[in-house]
Symmetry: C2
Subunit: 97 residues, 2 copies
DNA sequence: GCCGATGGTAAGTGCTAACTTACGGTAAGT
DNA sequence: ACTTACCGTAAGTTAGCACTTACCATCGGC
């Protein structure tokens, strides 16, 4: 979640959404330098959102399904609770009127 | 999404998950000053994640269902694409072996 | 009408992190 | 072996932002 807070990082993440890419290929579509992309990829990997495999000298990065699922479950619990509370508030409102 | 990047802001957001609260009540459960909470609430409101209604001199904040839904749809599209790409990669892998 | 409570806003400060340039390391091609 | 391509890491700078203190506005109560 902290990892997706940065716009550039989300940009990289959405590029990876189209499929696995190497570092240089990612840096070509992002308005920052290549080392910056490397640093962002490291953060994303630490967060469990992406993974990389070496292919010769190139490092190909891809999205990790587990990381997305983690956020998803967190959001789901949140959503349910929020809806329940929202219903409670609506009931209370109706009771007042 | 940028709004949920800050840990303190997520903390406040999760407090709001239990139900609507006033600013002072929120600040009591967060290790920062009350003005800081106000600023965080402003960011959250600008992001469409919370809304506030005045209750006398108190400002009661509550989570906004729409904001959560927005993140949810974004995440859903992401999830589907990621799974599809993952399946493609698995197929390619199988074809090689 | 005055005082306390509640909370938004302004100004200022410190720290984090995002970015750059520079360097080193590894693998492939010739 | 030498060069080239590709990438991670170190060091340094800067801009943003999270936080605090101080101030002001508004609403309710005595």
């Amino acid at each position: 979640m902290d990892a997706l807070g940065d716009p550039t990082r989300r940009h990289i993440f959405e590029l990876l959404r189209r499929g696995p890419r190497a570092v240089a290929a990612l840096a070509a579509d992002v308005p920052v330098s290549r080392p910056a992309v490397s640093q962002h990829l490291r953060v994303l990997e630490r967060a469990g959102l992406v993974s990389h495999r070496r292919e010769g000298t190139r490092h190909v990065y891809a999205v990790e399904a587990g990381g997305l699922d983690e956020i998803r479950t967190w959001l789901d619990g949140f959503w349910d609770d929020a809806l329940a509370r929202f219903a409670d508030a609506a009931n209370e409102e109706g009771r007042r009127q």
